[in-house]
């Protein structure tokens, strides 16, 4: 019997070694420990909607805030964490003139994007220095509604870009995981 336990341990050790190695060399690898479920939807929040507020993405002076439906909690690192939103809530705040940010490449953005969206390709944005990021983002309303998306399906650059923007001090950044794919399927406004 002891022999079997030894064999089990050997099998588990080999599998763990293979898994960790594969993950380390995999460009789509993941962190070993996950601290927060970045894929979760806060279902209570999704049922709310914003009605009596019109967002101005370019008003950098205003303190006018929406009714806080879309502000998450300040975390230990001192920024407000982005939250995932459904297509319904995305459309709701699209109608309230939220700033949509497309995290895909310029080519993808040029072929089709959410109407009025701006393009901040994630790879490009990430490689900027902190001050260049501030420079890029300072023309936008820090307390304004921001929705970051990418192509949908399995893309994750929207999550990464949303966290980048939130770290700069933007207080209401949302991640729309359905992406341009779901948006288009729903027949919501796109360009060009």
């Amino acid at each position: 019997m002891a022999k079997i336990y030894k064999q089990i341990l050997i099998i588990i050790a080999i599998s763990a070694a293979l898994g960790l190695t594969a993950n380390a060399i995999n460009s789509d690898g993941v962190k070993l420990v996950l601290y927060k479920n970045i894929y979760a939807l806060d279902t209570a929040k999704q049922k709310k909607s914003i009605t009596d507020f019109v967002n101005d993405p370019f008003d950098t002076t205003s303190n006018k805030k929406h009714n806080n439906v879309l502000s998450g909690q300040m975390n230990k690192e001192g920024y407000i964490e982005p939250e995932n939103i459904t297509v319904e809530l995305a459309k709701n705040i699209f109608d309230r003139n939220a700033l949509f940010v497309d995290a895909r490449t310029k080519e993808e953005f040029d072929s089709l994007h959410v109407k009025g969206a701006i393009n901040l390709p994630y790879e490009e944005f990430r490689s900027k220095t902190y001050y260049q990021k501030i420079e890029t983002m300072k023309k936008y309303n820090k307390d304004g509604l921001i929705v970051v998306y990418c192509k949908g399906d399995k893309c994750e650059v929207s999550i990464d870009l949303a966290y980048e923007i939130a770290r700069l001090g933007f207080t209401s950044v949302s991640i729309y995981r359905g992406g341009i794919k779901e948006w288009k399927e729903k027949g919501f406004p796109t360009e060009p």
Binding site: I11, S15, A16, G19, L20, A22, V30, L32, L34
Partner: protein, 156 residues
């Protein structure tokens, strides 16, 4: 019945079949830990700290166990591990159904399109696989002379 399920060829067939299923279910996940982690997260079952680690190691464990089952190496140990993972999957699946979670299984492919009926089907399938694992575990070593070179290897 007992004679039939302890028949050498029946046991070997079951073992190889189980190995193939394990390998088949693992290949899509081997280099896709992010998607598998998401599939695990949908079950809302494990503390999130362990989710990624499980998503990294479990597919490889399935793969290695599948290979060992097919090759007939470490038969007891690999069938025990196969059984343990099947029991774990069963608990996760049944608890998902019991809590009314509307999720896809994440068992074989990582698509999110499958429906709840799919999960019931997986549970039934898991029970059959578990039965096969028990047969392989119990009767896999019945004929010692079957693979003598293996028994010398594991006796050290």
């Amino acid at each position: 019945m007992k004679e039939f399920i302890s028949n050498k060829y029946v046991v070997i067939t079951l073992r190889v079949l189980l190995g193939l299923i394990f390998i088949y279910s693992s290949v899509g996940k081997l280099f896709n830990p992010a998607d598998f982690a998401k599939a695990i997260l949908r079950y809302d079952f494990l503390p999130i700290y362990f989710v990624n680690l499980l998503a990294i190691v479990l597919p490889w464990l399935e793969f290695v166990v599948g290979l060992l089952l097919i090759a007939g190496i470490y038969k007891k140990a690999s069938s025990l591990l196969a059984g343990a993972s099947l029991v774990m999957f069963l608990i996760a699946l049944i608890s998902a159904v019991a809590r009314g979670l509307d999720i896809s299984c994440g068992c074989f492919s990582l698509e999110e399109s499958s429906s709840k009926g799919d999960i019931i089907y997986r549970i039934v399938q898991d029970f059959f696989m578990l039965a096969a694992v028990i047969i392989v575990y119990k009767f896999g070593d019945a004929k010692k002379e079957e693979t003598p070179e293996v028994s010398t290897e594991i006796s050290n």
